[in-house]
Point group: C2
Chain length 188, copies 2
């Protein structure tokens, strides 16, 4: 297949959309939509990263509060996800404006978004500048998952989450399962 070189711009996809909640000193909560959230350390401990542009209101809130919650939105929340990403918490209360429900977290001040099936309470470990974004690195303290998305042994059933992907400026659904990691070992 012949190839062409192009000017790179956000070249990795598809990525997992996230709604990030934070609070100001008075306890007023905000939401920012990010096109991706990163797993950095998968188990011991669990650490995630979010890249936030410096002018964003949430950038200031997370720096000050040193806590944030990652909420993974389902695809049927699409319109609210987009609205949270195209408005600023400096101008409006996004929970009230878009009809989202704030639920108190267990260990951090920013709230969980009830309409998201997965919520990760995080404490900030570090902030690093990489080009046009700052990477906020956070340890996951508590994970909440909708009961309806868990199987009998408490394992997340991905097909129940109705995941929302971000792809090159577009929102996409997840498709179909092709196989399990390591399936070729069983074939050998």
């Amino acid at each position: 297949m012949p190839k062409r070189t192009i000017k790179p711009f956000r070249p990795i996809y598809p990525t997992p959309a996230g709604l990030i909640t934070s609070v100001d000193a008075a306890g007023t909560a905000n939401i920012i939509t990010l096109g991706e959230v990163h797993n950095l350390s998968i188990g011991k401990p669990v650490i995630v990263g979010i890249a936030v542009a410096r002018p964003r209101h949430s950038h200031e809130l997370i720096r000050q509060c040193r806590q944030f919650v990652v909420n993974l939105p389902p695809a049927d929340l699409l319109e609210k996800v987009d609205r949270c990403g195209t408005t600023s918490g400096r101008d409006l209360d996004k929970f009230a404006a878009f009809g989202l429900t704030a639920v108190p977290a267990e260990q951090v001040r920013p709230p969980l978004i009830a309409e998201c099936p997965v919520n990760l309470e995080c404490r900030l470990l570090d902030v690093q500048t990489w080009g046009d974004h700052d990477l906020f690195v956070g340890e996951v303290l508590v994970e909440h998952v909708d009961e309806s998305a868990l199987d009998g042994s408490g394992r997340v059933q991905v097909e129940k989450l109705n995941c929302l992907c971000y792809v090159h400026g577009e929102y996409w659904t997840l498709g179909r399962r092709l196989g399990t990691h390591g399936f070729t070992r069983a074939q050998a």
Copy 2:
């Protein structure tokens, strides 16, 4: 929806699968499959991150070479993607063993994988330890894309890439397009 707290493990999904190429001092190339690659700085400059476990052969190669290539595999390469993730380059030449084609890069020593529609040549900027993985941060120097995945103005057509997602230990396809970022502004 009632929620339950669970022990977190790699809690973000779906994530973009990547095949990362590197070389040793003698120029022998290796491939590692990662369940995710991270956009860190989206435009000025373009910076990506990859989290690699310390015992992996590619960890040593990338540290020494200070360059790597991110190759985004299509879903029809699934079996080879899985094999590259369950074997070690200490034991075998994955290009030869799995029938993948190495193509010289323009600005770095690790090769591109011809069978992947997107290849990103990267130079290492930093390595950071976060828990059970090290984060390799790299600046994207050159992006190569299959001609067949570009439209007339040179823009990537996502539906032509046949993206492969990694989701909680499983491989999935991408589904269908739901909308474009900012679509709710047009509705307002």
